[in-house]
Structure formats: C-alpha cells, structure tokens
Amino acid sequence: MKQASPFGPGARVAVQALMILLVIASLLPLYNVVSASLKSTDEFTANPIFLPQKVVADNYQYAAFSGGLLRYTVNSLLYVPIAVVLYLAVCISAGYAFGKMRFAFRLPLFLIVLFLSIFPQLLLATQVFKLISVMHMTNTGFGAILSWVSYFAPFGTYIMTTYFADMPYELVEAARIDGAGPLRILISIMAPLAMPMIATIAIIGFQSMWNELPFSLLILQTQEQRTLTVGIAMMRGEFGLRVPILSAALVIAMVVPLLTFLLFQRHITLGVTAGAVKG
C-alpha cells in the first residue's frame, strides 16, 4: 500500500512466512475435502492424507444422483434468487422510507428493525413455523423464501437506511417540486444513485439465504424440497461413514459460493464493512 516500511529484510521474510502459514491453515481442510472426494473408499482408508493415486469420479456421480445433490442444487438455484428479488424490494423501499421520509413512530420502528437484525433464529423458529403452517406453506419453496426474507430483510433495511440518509435531501426536494410522488422519486432518482450499495446488499442477502439452515430445516422437511444447505447438513447421517462421498457432496456445494466470490469479490469486500465502518 505504501513505500516506506518499518520492516527490515529479516522481518519481511518472517511476515511472508506467517502469511503462508495462515494460507495453509485456511486451505488445508479444503484440500483434504477435494483430495478425499477423488479417492475410492479403499484408497481413502489406506491413504487419507496425500493426493489420490488413482482419481475416481464415482463419488461425484453417487453424491449428485443417489445422494440428491443435483436436486438440492436446483432447488437452491430456484429459491434463493426469487428470495433475493423480494428481499431487495423490501430493503430498498423500507430503507428509503426510514432514511428520507418522515412518519409517526419512525425512530421506535427503526430501533425494532435494528433489534430484529441481531435476533437469534431459534428464538423466532416456533412462531415462524406456526405462521408458515397456518398459511399451508410447509414443505414449499415459497414458505422457505418468505421465512428467509422476513428474517434477513431487517439487516439489509438497516444498511439501506444509513445509505439513503446520507444522500443529499435536495435531490428529493427538486423531484418533488417537479411533481414526482415518493415511489417515482425512489425508482427514478434514489435507487439508481444507490446502485453500489444495492449490489452489496444483494450479495449479502444471497450469501445469507444460500447458507441459511434453521428455518429451511424446519419448513422443508421432505427430501425433494431440501435446499443445498439443508441437504449437506442432513447428509452426515444418510451416508454413514463414507467420507469420499460426503467430500464429493461438499465440493459440489462449494461451487456456487466460490463462483460468487470470483465474480463479485469487490462487493463482498464492501459488504463485510457495510453497516459498521463508515466512509
């Protein structure tokens, strides 16, 4: 980041060594999963640590078809994007209302939103499950989608609120003088200007909902409806002790998160700091 450095050559080597050590610590479990997934069960028993001597694809075939991973992936790829669209609609409109409009009980309502955003899911689980069953949505993707959006929207709303609140009020004034209503101002003026933050919360929402477990576990109880995350969590019991197959399933489950990281690294980096570090 800068030229002047307090490190001498010896310290530089030590720092690099530390970084490489940390990288190894981060990647070793992942290496093990990938390498185990390519071994036959016999080879894994004989050689659990090193790279496979004979690469086999059977584990992937078994995990994807008999293990149902393909089905679960399709479910996740179907449910999560729909949920993200709903989530964005809620966060953007609520964030704009909290950030730029004045209405009764604005502050108390906003504090409730803040409180909800740290609420443990298990505290809400009984109520959420009841609500979803009253609407006859257990074991449907839409039931899961509703539970995700209602749980994760408070945090996104909070972030959008701080972002909209920091935008100059003159923009709203000018549009209002031109005769635009609140919805029109939001859609044609404010939302386009907030695009960088919207992209960031879209990624945050996608990741949280993709990885969501407790609600999906309770709502999606039939095997056909499981998301990838539920599928992976339930698999331990179902495959018994066959590590190579479990590993293949894990590798399949890693594909989408890793792809989003490669494509949207900048937004993910931004997302980590959104809501806390200002500027």
Binding site: M1, P120, T269, T273, V277
Partner: protein, 258 residues
C-alpha cells in the same frame, strides 16, 4: 407469546397447560442448561484472541507486503463457504479416523479425541469459529478501518524511529478503536445468536450435551423433544442476553453517528 409459553407445558400443538414457574425451576436444575451457559462463556473467552490476531494480521498487510491482496482473498474463503459447509468439513476432519488424526497418529502414535472429549470438543468449536473462521472477515474489516487513518501519522512515527510494534500499539490500535468495539460486539452476536448451524453440523451438541449453547438447547428441547414450553424458558434467557447486546450495539451506533 414466548413469555406466555414459558409458563406452560406445551408440545407446540394442542392444549397449553399453565404450570407457573415450573419450567424455570427445571431449567435451573438442568445440567444441560448450565453447560450451555458455560460453553457460551468459553466461546466469549476466545473473542479477545480472535480480535487481536485479526488486527495484527491486518496491520501487517497494511504495510504493503507483497501479495497482500491475494492473501486477503484466500483467507476469506472459509468465511465465504458458510457455517454448514465448514461444520461438515470439520466433522470429517477432526474425527478419530479423520484426516487430521491420521497426521497426529503418524507423529504421536495415538489419535487426539477432538470430538469425543467434551473439553476438547467445546474448545475446538471456540477456536475454529471465533478465531480461525473469523480471521478472514476481521482482516477485511480492519483493513478498511485502517484505510481511514491519516498516512502522515505513520510517516511521522517512522521518522521518530518507532518500529512496527510501537506504531501498532500507539497509532494503529487507538485510531481504529471504534472498529474494534464493533468487531467485539459482532463477535458477541455470533457467539450468542449465530452458532447453531455450525454446532448442528459439527457435533450435534455432543458428546452428550457438552457442546450445547442456549440456541442449540432451544432447538433440541423445542424441535427434537417437542418440549416447546420448556424450550421457551431457555428462549427467555437467550432473549435477555440478546437484548443487552442489542442495547450496547445501538449505543455504539448512536455515538458514531453523533
């Protein structure tokens, strides 16, 4: 609703029977409840180490070491994959016949019972989740905070002959004190309110109930044993903890925005 349910005997459906404070009496005599509280306390003890280590590594990267951007990205990968995938990975990795123990057995001749010994299981969770898994997140977070520090302070410190350690203690850490407080609060939220998925996939609360947290207890009593009334009593305790954390967090935000 939860408060009401906590005074009743209830399976989650059918009639609710008012039993007064009996659920709370049972809870305070329940070994699993106290283990959950102790485990949460244990995980909290890992927060300072995790925080300091993240700041330290971020400060090293800030000095512009070669390849810092690549390191930053790679160290974030475990975070990215989420608690469920990481929990299942470690459940394979730490088993007595798992890969890590294959290595340990090669060196020491006997495996370490990471997931069978209650003490080791609880500490493995604390170390993996609070320190190791949050490192990548902490680095990105603290690097962003350090970006806001005026570069001329560092140049002045360098001219005054302050080395890395002195600059770290006297310039870097005080300048990002706000970010540090937020990070600690974030970690408290993780420990009290976000650990369920990791514990469910890594140990299922076991061996026995030795890696329970309040969250896991609520799941176990409410959704596996269908003691919803009793689980609601646990919920009230967790609710109180979260309310306190939330008040601290909102105070922090108000101070920053002021």
């Amino acid at each position: 609703m939860n408060l009401f349910a906590s005074f009743t005997e209830w399976k989650g459906y059918g009639p609710q029977k008012w039993i007064g404070l009996a659920n709370y009496e049972q809870m305070f005599q329940d070994q699993a409840f106290w283990t959950s509280i102790l485990n949460t306390g244990l995980f909290v003890l890992y927060i300072p180490a995790g925080t300091i280590f993240s700041i330290f590594v971020a400060a090293l990267m800030r000095e512009g070491i070669n390849g810092w951007k690549t390191y930053r990205a790679i160290l974030y990968i475990p975070n990215l994959l989420g608690y469920v995938i990481m929990g299942v990975i470690f459940s394979i990795y730490l088993r007595d016949d798992g890969t890590l123990n294959a290595l340990v057995r090669g060196i020491f001749g006997a495996p370490i019972h990471f997931l069978i010994n209650p003490f080791l299981a609880a500490n493995s969770i604390g170390l993996i989740l609070v320190v190791w898994l949050h490192l990548g997140f902490g680095i990105i977070y603290f690097l962003a905070a350090m970006n806001g520090i005026d570069q001329s302070i560092y140049e002045a410190a360098l001219i005054d002959g302050a080395g890395f350690w002195k600059t770290f203690a006297k310039v870097t850490v005080p300048s990002i004190s706000f970010a540090v407080e937020f990070f600690v609060v974030f970690n408290f939220i993780e420990v009290f309110a976000r650990m369920f998925s990791f514990i469910y996939t890594l140990t299922q609360g076991g061996p026995g109930y030795s890696t329970f947290t309040l969250e896991y207890g609520i799941f176990d009593e409410g959704f596996q044993k269908f003691h919803v009334g009793y689980a609601s009593a646990w919920s009230m305790v967790l609710f109180v903890f979260c309310a306190v954390i939330s008040v601290v967090q909102i105070r922090l935000m108000q101070r920053r925005d002021a």
